[in-house]
Point group: C2
Chain length 331, copies 2
């Protein structure tokens, strides 16, 4: 979709939170990052090389990636001259902001004049097919959650990295804007038209070597009234061989749905397996990935041991413990 | 969305199959139909009054509804002068064809000049909200199927008609283009963007009187790999109190998916109930609606009796037997 190496644009980010997209990209794909661009007012620092637009191009950077989120997701006027400079210097631009690059006349004009491309990763650019449900070669692992935002992306990224570290074949398949910015391609599933959702997942997880694993980024939750249809399409389009059940044990209500409590991991497993078996009778829930960030080390380890006993499969916090045991659970 | 009475445009339909949309509208909303318009070459006849454009307007017709499907779903050139005449005479036009009215320059121009509206019912026109999952007053009944095209629309239309016949409060809620053309409004769910699917269903089934029933047209199937996400959004957006399980017993493989066989009604019930209970713990599967068109009367009655015994709930073919027992099953 768009080319590395990247120049990570931190702009005038007041703090690390505002630039957490840039941090995520650097954490997961340091090899794709040429350096950072910070405006004078910038209050964050990834601790990597500061590059001017000119220096970035000289260092081989192909794409300026906007790694900062403004209030309201807008593209502020004081960024624009820098972005135009980048286009003129020969870089493309990629953004996951709500406000689109392609709606900014100055940027569109500069891109056209210089033969550059503006990548708005929230907008699907492919004409996806309708899913055909046909069995594909290769293996697929999907993260499903008891709720939204419980660590599904982190889990699949960590498993993909661990697989590669072990010298095994794998690919992370992004389905949301942060994942797409990290990987450089993927499908912004929440923006796909209903009839083509499952087809878009088939499209990004095509036939592959028998020993190759796709790690598919999850979205939503089967238990989340707003987005469960998206999750369903991921399961039926992804044809997973292995499911990782993701959970955040301290959360009291579903994200954005104050009237709903979270299901248990057992309830998730009971609901998701028959659904997954429609497209892949061999599908198994192989492990639990637990986000224990709001627990002490002791609490976390006790909790994980309890889940492991109760569910009869490994329970791991990949942030705390690494993803080795999750990968091992794939067999 | 668009106004009755309708002039049903049969155009140059060679036979009844080509004009089955018009037949469906007339079958379900005869009171909304002022008459039919047939070109000289037309080989079909709904058996209702033939009206010229002028006569239709004099008879009060507000919308010309395209009730014929061409090969490829196109709007043929020899229709256009008639459609322009209708716009000039003061009618709006509604169409469910793949080719859009709003992509025909002659029609757009005539509509603008005469202050008329072109309704392409395949295109969502509302900015739907994200679903909030809040409990709404009123009752809702949703048809879910073991496959696509097993009689879900027919079932909900028949139940709505029966409710009205009994003097009870009810509304048919269309979610596909045929249903929308019949009802005059609804959501073309398969064309809605993923994030807003469930929200669009909440939008069309708002709070209502405690004794009012919405009959929500189903789409797809939880077991259909291409469209299951759409079905999921219908269940979680629709918050059904009652489910009607729909099935076509002679079909051997899932529609469009030759590698998949149909699930049983038990499998459907087992999968759908826990899903529906996420948003409405009181939800029940109250009856089965069986499409027995490919069976003899004897075969059908024997089959229905068997299903009724096995499932422990009424099993009815509403086309053969009427919808009384389905409505009765709602309580």
């Amino acid at each position: 979709m768009f080319e590395a190496p990247y120049l990570l644009f931190l702009g005038d980010a007041p703090d690390a939170l505002a630039a957490k997209m840039a941090q995520g990209i650097y954490d997961w794909r340091p090899e794709a990052v040429a350096g950072q661009f910070r405006m004078e007012e910038c209050g964050d620092d990834l601790g990597i090389k500061d590059l001017s637009i000119k220096e970035a191009v000289e260092a081989g950077a192909k794409t300026l990636v906007i790694g900062v989120v403004n209030r309201g997701g807008v593209i502020s006027d004081n960024w624009k001259s820098i972005l135009v400079e980048a286009l003129e210097a020969g870089m493309d631009i990629a953004s996951g902001l709500h406000t689109l690059l392609c709606d900014q006349p100055e940027l569109v004009e500069a891109a056209e004049k210089n033969g550059r491309t503006l990548h708005d990763v929230r907008i699907p650019t492919v004409k996806y097919p309708i899913a055909n449900g046909k069995k594909r070669s290769g293996k697929r692992c999907l993260a499903v959650g008891t709720d939204c935002s419980v660590g599904k992306m982190y889990t699949t990224l960590a498993m993909d990295r661990e697989m590669k570290k072990q010298g095994r074949k794998s690919t992370f398949r992004a389905t949301g804007q942060t994942g797409i910015l990290i990987e450089g391609n993927g499908v912004p599933l929440d923006a796909v038209i209903a009839d083509f959702m499952a087809g878009s997942i088939e499209y990004i997880t095509p036939e592959n070597d028998a020993d190759h694993w796709d790690f598919i980024e999850g979205q939503g939750s089967l238990f989340h009234a707003s987005y469960s249809g998206v999750t369903m399409a991921l399961i039926h389009g992804g044809q997973p061989d292995a499911l990782i059940l993701c959970h955040e044990p301290t959360r009291e209500t579903m994200r954005g749905l104050p009237d709903y409590t979270l299901p248990s991991l057992e309830e998730l497993r009971e609901m998701v397996l028959p659904i997954a078996k429609v497209v892949n009778p061999e599908c198994k829930a192989v492990a639990c990935s637990i986000n224990t960030q709001h627990m002490s080390e002791d609490e976390a380890l006790t909790y994980l041991a309890g889940v492991e006993k109760q569910m009869g499969i490994p329970a791991v916090d990949p942030f705390r413990q690494g993803a080795e045991r999750l990968v091992e659970a794939l067999g």
